[in-house]
């Protein structure tokens, strides 16, 4: 049995003293794309932020393993340097820090022009990161940011929300390209995606869907089947797959 790229074991998390995640188990093998569904406040964004190591989330018990190494005590930059990357839902505006300066700081200047073209993001090099960006521009930048780093595991927090119809295909294709292999020898990249609208499912090959409710993963299923059920019946599991073990 191969070691999963990400392995979360009985994870409990609190934020500012309040419990937000209650015993999540989740394994994602290399090359798979998993999708998290759930109502607002169910803990999806908290889970992604915890994996990335962001404040104010604190692991109270349980473990997070990445590439066979326990990471739940590592600072955020070390996790990123190991190959984790995240597309933020509401990233901060960085006044005075241009897209160009950011790109130079992560050592990806050579890629900026070509990757920006694919996302219709040309002309933003001199703009301050996320400052004055529209909702859709923020999401396109967040994807572009990941394309510039090509992390082994990408965490997407609602990548399509706020993106206008004109650009949603570009965003979807960019994510699909990000998760694809650069060369035949390059293994497919891995992803955990939060989506509310499900639009993104039209563009990426998703392998597993998980339903998260009240800080717990209550079931897992084929992502399209699960999303169709949620659209029709709300946030519950389809009858056939209900009560599937939390561990995949």
């Amino acid at each position: 049995m191969t070691t999963p790229l990400l392995d979360i074991r009985d994870l409990h998390v609190e934020a500012d003293g309040s419990p937000v995640i209650h015993g999540v188990n989740l394994s994602i093998p290399i090359g798979e794309t998993h999708v998290l569904f759930g109502p607002n406040g169910s803990g999806k964004s908290s889970l992604l932020a915890t994996i990335m190591g962001l404040a104010p989330y604190r692991v109270t018990s349980g473990e997070i393993w990445f590439k066979g190494q326990r990471i739940d005590a590592l600072p955020v930059d070390k996790r990123a340097q190991m190959g984790l990357g995240m597309s933020f839902q509401r990233p901060p505006a960085l006044e005075g820090v241009t897209v160009e300066a950011f790109t130079a700081a992560i050592g990806s200047s050579a890629l900026l022009e070509s990757e920006a073209s694919a996302l219709d993001f040309n002309g933003f090099a001199e703009r301050d990161v996320n400052a004055g960006f529209s909702g859709g521009e923020i999401k396109r930048w967040e994807i572009l940011k990941l394309l510039l780093k090509r992390p082994d595991l990408s965490l997407f927090d609602e990548p399509e929300s706020g993106v206008d119809l004109e650009h949603i295909a570009a965003v979807g294709k960019a994510i699909d390209r990000l998760l694809g292999a650069d060369t035949p020898a390059d293994p497919q990249r891995t992803a955990l995606v939060i989506t509310h609208t499900g639009f993104i499912l039209d563009y990426i090959h998703a392998d597993v869907g998980h339903l998260m409710v009240d800080g717990r993963i209550v079931g897992s299923a084929d992502p399209r089947t699960l999303f169709s059920h949620i659209k029709a019946h709300g946030y519950s599991m389809p009858p056939v797959t209900a009560n599937v073990s939390q561990t995949i």
Partner: protein, 370 residues
């Protein structure tokens, strides 16, 4: 090239001045370097620019004496009174840009204090004549071997009607030095001055005082980038007088303390009709050490003066730090990027070499290397 005074400065001196803006003289309309108490080097490539030691200008042009101590009161304080009453010939430069000239290449002017525990006392006068346009780079530096000393300067700058001057000033003094500077600027009718002041290197105590008077239709825009690492104390006191009808001013100070103290008192005075002015004072504190005191003040003497100010002091936002670190930057690199963004170095239109040096200085201070 017409070298008017002295031999070339040495390669070592050029190297010391490079971080504060010195570059190839052939790419500048004029170069002037003051070393200790001498006007060591003047080279002029453009007939529309004239540079002389001030003592020579006083004897060559009888009108220059009328410009000296015209913008600053000789009894302003002990420092200025000492200069006014000195029996020695003044040391400093006289720069003149002739009427109507559109000077294509920048003028570069530097001050170097080479003697440990040296005392510098300079008085500089600049006249941009009617309708002339010029860009100036000025820098102050010490060699690495000089830590302590005292630099005192008085500058009086005149922009005649319709003149334009864009200037960048960079200071890099010794960490145990005392510096006192008194700057006075008269912005004539429809004249325009655009200034960037960069003070990021460690210095024991730097007191700078400035007063700008703007006549009818005149414009003054200045931006200051101020950094105080631990052990550095900076005090800035400035007054901007919107004297004439329709005079305009915008003054922006961005201050960061990495453990040093910064005091910034700026007063904007609306005297003329239909004047408009803005003060922006933003501070960033990198640790619990040090202090920033920001006191922007508005004084309206005309009922038709529109004056406003904005002031803030904060710390580095943890969310911004985490966001950058989530792309793999170390905490130090993320802090540097945020600080440099806050200081808005890109907006200063700095020469690349200076931008690199400023970034390096801030990074070194952040990492505790200074």
């Amino acid at each position: 090239m017409a070298t008017l005074l002295g031999a070339d400065i040495t390669p070592e001196e050029k190297q010391q001045l490079a971080p504060v803006g010195y570059s190839i003289e052939g790419e500048h309309s004029a170069t002037c370097v003051l070393v200790d108490q001498d006007v060591r080097h003047i080279a002029v490539n453009d007939p529309d620019v004239e540079i002389l030691p001030l003592k020579d200008a006083l004897t060559r042009y009888d009108w220059v004496q009328d410009l000296m101590f015209k913008l600053i009161n000789p009894t302003e304080n002990d420092h200025v009174a000492q200069a006014a009453e000195s029996r020695h010939a003044p040391v400093g430069h006289f720069i003149r840009v002739r009427k109507g000239a559109k000077v294509r290449l920048p003028v570069q002017v530097f001050t170097l204090l080479e003697t440990p525990q040296g005392r510098q006392f300079h008085h500089n006068i600049t006249v941009i004549e009617e309708g002339a346009e010029v860009e100036m780079i000025s820098g102050s530096a010490v060699p690495p071997s000089v830590h302590a000393g005292h630099h005192l300067s008085i500058s009086e700058t005149y922009l005649r009607e319709g003149a334009t001057c864009r200037s960048v000033s960079i200071e890099h003094w010794g960490p145990a030095m005392e510096v006192h500077s008194y700057a006075r600027t008269h912005v004539g009718t429809n004249a325009r001055v655009i200034e960037s002041n960069i003070q990021v290197s460690p210095v024991k105590h730097h007191y700078s005082q400035s007063r700008t008077v703007i006549e009818d239709g005149g414009v003054s825009n200045d931006q200051s980038v101020i950094f105080a690492p631990a052990g550095t104390g900076r005090v800035m006191e400035s007054e901007i007088h919107l004297k004439g009808v329709n005079a305009r001013s915008e003054s922006i100070a961005r201050m960061v303390t990495g453990g040093g103290t910064i005091t910034n008192r700026t007063t904007l005075v609306g005297e003329g009709r239909d004047t408009k002015g803005f003060l922006g004072c933003n501070g960033l504190k990198l640790s619990d050490e040090g202090e920033i005191l920001s006191v922007p003040a508005l004084r309206a003497r005309s009922a038709q003066a529109q004056l406003s100010h904005e002031a803030s002091i904060g710390m580095i936002d943890q969310a911004k730090l985490s966001y950058l670190m989530a792309s793999g930057m170390s905490e130090d690199a993320a802090r540097d990027l945020i600080v440099q963004g806050f200081l808005n170095l890109d907006a200063q239109q700095l020469p690349e070499a200076i931008r690199v040096e400023v970034s390096r200085t801030i990074a070194a201070a952040n990492s505790g290397a200074l």
